[in-house]
């Protein structure tokens, strides 16, 4: 095992609470009706290509990508399109979606290989792989949902030296990536191989936090046993520290290189891909299977049976909560994602989409709002900030609408990890104001660049 690595600046260590780490992945049954939102990725929502009354097969494309940063959407079930309408997403806003009444018998589209057999021969070349990934609508499944094919298209003059697989899973509570690594180890490693071929590199590094020892050992063992097949893939244990899984942090931890301010990770010769996306890439390239399902962790301290479920997109989240033992009485807050980066939801029946890594039910004790005090300039937020910013200052400037100053203080470099807010002894909602400032400053910068 390689020595531990970590990013140098800041970071916090919240309680891990990986309650569902030992729960094997269960297949979640399809409900009678699924609601598939068309905007499942960062960027433009897809255009629907089906109409009311159409019969769709599982894996059939129902929405095409619109624009460069956008991803295709496929039907997660076999059934009849009930309507193309709007549905309330987790924020309470209405977004376009396709409603599908699910048939009893499932039928996949032609060309999808459904055996569990491990296919080790990569037949496609680099461009074909990227096209396949694009066609199958694969996005970053860590939560940001950035279309993966855009990431893999290396701009001219740049070279990807490393493929870094982000298996840190630094968010407390979430265990979906960990379970995938343990249960689909070989398939996942094949995914890494495919990615390495896609960007023409022979170095693949899996960055993984040390609190997942079983996964580290299993990966090491599997690579050692199949030395020829998985040549060039290396497992890099990382210190358990939040936000180890931040794109810039994991690059710094593994390669020691720093992504310049305002630039993309490719500047450092690295492409970072999430575990779930890597597995989806294996399924897409080797088995021709579009992205229609993902692993979702349903967890919380008061939840009766925290677990990991393989869920088709469009399944309402409340069914998952019911499967995990129902909504506990002392639930104060339901979060889509992890406790640090996730967002509180307004409704419980929002559909699961490509970026839903977890559904977290926080109990009253943990989610209780704490009394907000005044900033005493202790500087803890500045110490905790993994980007080396001064959150106390940016917070104040954003509050006063001084957006030229926030820009000078590099608000756009904020990765919104929430370490500052976590560490603040006065419980000031620092991240809220910084997010507000970031949105406003970003709009001003974009307007200026357009002139």
């Amino acid at each position: 095992m390689n020595p531990l690595k970590t990013f140098p600046k800041g970071g916090v260590h919240p309680e891990e609470n990986k309650l569902s780490a030992d729960q094997p992945i269960q297949d979640f049954p399809l409900p009678k009706q699924i609601i598939v939102p068309l905007g499942q990725c960062l960027g433009a929502p897809a255009d629907p290509i089906v109409q009311k009354g159409d019969h769709v097969l599982t894996g059939q494309m129902i929405g095409t990508a619109k624009g460069f940063v956008s991803a295709n959407v496929h039907s997660p079930a076999t059934g009849t399109v009930a309507k193309v309408d709007v549905v309330m997403d987790h924020t309470g806003y209405y977004k376009p979606a396709v409603f599908i009444n699910v048939d009893e018998e499932e039928q996949w589209v032609d060309g999808v290989i459904q055996t569990d057999e491990l296919l080790t021969e990569i037949k496609l070349d680099s461009n074909e792989i990227i096209n396949k990934i694009k066609e199958c609508g694969i996005v970053g499944m860590g939560g940001a949902t950035f279309p993966t094919h855009v990431k893999l298209m290396i701009p001219e003059g740049k070279k990807a030296e490393y493929i870094i697989i982000n298996a840190a899973e630094c968010e407390p509570y979430l265990t979906c990536d960990n379970r995938l690594l343990l249960e689909k180890t070989k398939e996942f490693l094949m995914g890494v191989k495919i990615l390495m071929k896609a960007v023409n590199t022979d170095k693949g590094v899996i960055g993984i936090e040390r609190n997942k020892m079983s996964a580290i050992e299993l990966l090491d063992k599997t690579i050692a046993e199949n030395r020829d097949l998985f040549a060039g893939i290396q497992v890099q244990p990382l210190k358990t520290k939040y936000p180890q899984g931040g794109e810039k942090q994991i690059i710094k931890a593994i390669t020691g290189r720093e992504v310049p301010s305002g630039k993309l990770p490719i500047e450092t010769g690295c492409v970072v891909v999430n575990v779930a996306s890597t597995y989806a890439i294996y399924e897409a390239v080797q088995k021709n299977k579009p992205l229609v399902e993902r692993i979702v962790t349903v967890t919380g301290k008061s939840v009766k049976h925290p677990g990991n479920y393989r869920v088709r997109f469009g399944t309402p989240a409340n069914l998952l909560i019911d499967a995990a033992g129902g909504l506990p009485d002392d639930t104060a807050n339901i979060i889509n994602g992890g406790p640090m980066m996730g967002k509180s939801v307004s409704v419980t029946d929002f559909p699961v989409i490509k970026g839903t890594s977890g559904i977290l039910l926080m109990n009253v004790k943990d989610a209780q709002p704490r009394k907000v005090g005044n900033c005493i300039r202790c500087g803890r937020c500045a110490i905790a900030c993994p980007m080396g910013l001064q959150p106390f200052l940016i917070n104040k400037l954003a509050k006063l609408d001084m957006f030229d100053e926030t820009e000078k203080n590099h608000i756009m470099d904020c990765i919104e990890c929430g370490s500052c807010e976590f560490t603040c002894p006065a419980n000031i909602p620092l991240l809220d104001y910084i997010r507000y400032g970031k949105a406003k400053t970003g709009a001003i910068i974009r307007a200026r660049n357009q002139k």
Binding site: T91, G92, Y94, S344, S346, P429, D432
Partner: protein, 308 residues
């Protein structure tokens, strides 16, 4: 000891004198010639820098007035909503037509009662931020978030959040219609409308353009786009913007027929005397209603509907 004091006094005094002379000449040399009229015009203005005129501040607007007066001999297109333009015109020895007085109107009635909270928001008290996070406590994605961005931006202290309804209320006496609140609202709920004849005006108190079924889920007084008012209006003053009725103040004759037919009580008519015999109304209600959202007014609407 005395010597040091004396020497310092003399040296500093002489130095000060020399520098003062230099500064005087420099000031003479680089003097900026400004039209004294600008100062005079600025003195007539409210000095709130509200931005209602479209300029960066009162000084900026005063400069624009003086420039327009010298170049075009007219103040057309220039209007300060918060001060008397007649005074400005007098200073510049011009005539000016009195602009129609305007007022800010909050087009949302999703109070705690009409649009009950389904979730509870804890976080930064900025509407612009909450707007990016979620639809709102009541679930209406176009409704008032009640965190008071408009209140913070009002330079005339004319807007306040009513704690009972959770909605901002416009103080009719203080509001000048500068539009600072309308710019601040991330959902475009506040509209600057003409005050209307005798301060009486009719408007649609909702901003939700969604389909009726969606509006009904979140609010009991939201516009559902039934078009009854649109069909009733004898002056074609109502247009449908998506699923939302909009009353054009230029065409509206304040007949209040739309208010009668609205099945949801969304159309508000303010400052009208109570309707005569139709409904049992508390007698002696003052004609001038200082507050925009009056629960009594709503009762009028509902009872009228029943009688109609």
């Amino acid at each position: 000891m005395n010597n040091i004091l004396l020497i310092s006094l003399i040296v500093l005094g002489v130095l000060g004198g020399i520098l003062a002379i230099i500064l005087y000449f420099v000031a003479q040399k680089f003097k900026v010639e400004e039209n004294p009229l600008i100062d005079e015009v600025e003195a007539c203005l409210a000095g709130a820098n509200c931005g209602g005129c479209g300029y960066a501040g009162c000084r900026n607007f005063a400069e624009a007035c003086v420039k327009a007066a010298s170049e075009k001999q007219s103040l057309a297109g220039l209007n300060c909503p918060s001060s008397d333009m007649q005074k400005v015109a007098d200073v510049l020895k011009l005539t000016v037509e009195a602009a129609e007085p305007m007022i800010a109107v909050v087009r949302c009635n999703g109070s705690c009662e009409n649009s009950p909270a389904k979730v509870h928001y804890e976080g930064a008290d900025i509407c612009a931020f909450a707007n990016t996070l979620y639809a709102g406590e009541g679930g209406c994605s176009k409704g008032c978030l009640g965190l008071g961005d408009c209140v913070k931006k009002c330079p005339f202290d004319a807007l306040h959040i009513n704690k009972e309804t959770g909605l901002p209320e416009v103080d009719e006496e203080k509001c000048v219609g500068c539009g600072a609140c309308a710019k601040a609202c991330p959902r475009g709920i506040i509209e600057v409308r003409p005050r209307g004849k005798n301060n009486r005006r009719v408007y649609v108190c909702c901003s939700n353009t969604d389909k009726g079924a969606i509006v009904m889920k979140s609010c009991s007084v939201g516009c559902i786009g039934c078009q009854k008012c649109f069909k009733t209006c004898p002056f074609e003053a109502i247009e449908m913007r998506g699923n939302l009725a909009y009353i054009d103040p230029a065409k509206c004759k304040s007949c209040r027929k739309c208010e009668e037919v609205c099945p949801r009580g969304t159309i508000h008519a303010v400052n009208f005397p109570p309707r005569k015999p139709k409904a049992e109304q508390p007698v002696g209600e003052p004609v001038q209603q200082p507050v925009v959202e009056q629960p009594v007014k709503e009762k009028v609407t509902i009872e009228n509907k029943e009688n109609a």
